[in-house]
Amino acid sequence: MLLLEQAGEYVLLMQRALSKPDKWAVFRNQLMNEFTNLGIDSIGIVAIISVFMGAVVSIQTAYNIDSPLIPLTMVGFTARQSVILEFSPTIISLILAGKVGSRIASEIGSMKISQQIDALQVLGVNPANFLIFPKIIASVLINPVLIIFSIFMSLAGGYLIAQLTDLYTPQDYVTGLRYSFSAFTVFYAIIKTVVFAFIISSVSGYHGYKVKGGALQVGQASTNAVVHSSIGIILFNLILTQLLLT
């Protein structure tokens, strides 16, 4: 019952949030700020996680190839496919759900308890649209860029291992990366990322917006935002994979 109630509240809030902005010039400024807050500020963590993720995937793949019939070029091929199809879009989106989701929920929640949202409403501004819409648009546009960046950084991580160890040669790795490449896999990764970005920003915005109480409730909203966004990502990962890859 509570789940249905929350789903209803979420839909009604999105109805108000996804409407025409009161003033486009103000919206543009908000959007630019959100690009920085939600995207540019995440580049560091995305880079670090991606390099290590790519390195580990490559090492594990090399470790599991113990048959002389399987060429070592498979390390690059497997790393590329794993990173593009799953690791970068899903794992990085889960990381962003933690970083960006908690930020959105706590920012909006703090504004709610300090009456800043009431102030917007009294000024005649649609607070849901003013606060949540730019975050959704910014996330949907910037997250695919972050994921493409993550893919490159992950593949670079695998290449780094080739340079630093003798598990496989850089030539084997690069040959594997270029083997049987299908652009559709990147398209699939971007589709997933856009859906995940919408889930992260809208679910976190919803949890922030419905805060009632004080600092404790802001913390709870932040936690719920991360948990529910992560569940949403996992669920839609399955649905989209089933729809697009089978």
Partner: protein
């Protein structure tokens, strides 16, 4: 002029406002007083549309605010300014951006014109040179003054102040009261102030309305409140040792 007729508001089984009818006159500071939990904040929230009344009507001149939807209310909201208890300044904006925000949203003024108006409003609330400070760098009194500046930047016809003196020392509280009074008379604003500060009542109470348990219990002004014979009002007015001593 704001005319309130028979408004009622309940939360579940609890009736918070019971058939309140009032007129708030322009060019006067209309004070709503009452102890905590009496319903005065709920009433102010109903007046500005943050809560919907269950019954009754709220008219801004001849416009039925209570019957409008959010879009229709926009035109009236542009004529409103509100000072919230904690100031409610936007954390992500500095002082200048906070004050200029309503102009940015509702006017086509250039950044230079907005800046001039912001400077004028800051000067009007006796603050200068704080344009680039963020809300976290301001004292409680400064926050209230910046919030007043933001509330008057669009030259509102209606000014709502929720507990303007709360959390301030008596001297700063007096400054804020004087400022509200001056602005009300200067721009002929219909000002409504929620307070339980008796000092504010005797300083700026052009009209005073006492709410008791969600009902309008007494109406008068700062000159006759101290001599009113209403028992509940007397209990409220002379509830502190200081006021009791002054009475005797």
């Amino acid at each position: 002029m704001i005319t309130v007729t028979n408004i009622e508001k309940s939360f579940g089984q609890k009736k918070v406002l019971r058939k309140i009818s009032l007129n708030f006159e322009p060019g006067k500071t209309n004070l709503i007083i009452g102890k905590s939990g009496s319903g005065k904040t709920v009433m102010m929230k109903c007046l500005v549309g943050l809560l919907e009344v269950d019954k009754g009507s709220i008219f801004y001149h001849d416009r039925d605010f209570s019957a409008m939807n959010d879009k229709e209310r926009k035109s009236i909201r542009k004529e409103m300014g509100m000072l919230f208890q904690g100031g409610a300044l936007f954390d992500s904006m500095n002082v200048e951006e906070n004050i200029g925000f309503p102009m940015k949203m509702y006017t086509t003024k250039s950044p230079l014109e907005i800046r001039k108006r912001v400077d004028f409003c800051l000067e009007r609330v006796n603050l200068k040179g704080v344009n680039k400070l963020s809300p976290s760098e301001l004292s409680g009194g400064m926050i209230k003054r910046v919030a007043i500046a933001r509330a008057i930047v669009l030259q509102p016809s209606y000014l709502f102040c929720d507990e303007p003196n709360s959390g301030l020392d008596p001297q700063t509280g007096n400054l804020i009261d004087d400022l509200i009074l001056e602005i009300t008379h200067e721009y002929n604003i219909t000002t409504i102030v929620n307070t339980h500060d008796m000092n504010s009542v005797v300083e700026i109470g052009d009209k005073v309305h006492y709410i008791y348990n969600g009902e309008l219990w007494w109406s008068g002004d700062k000159n006759n409140i101290l001599t009113a014979t209403n028992t509940e009002l007397q209990d409220f007015v002379f509830s502190t040792e200081l006021t009791r001593r002054l009475k005797t």
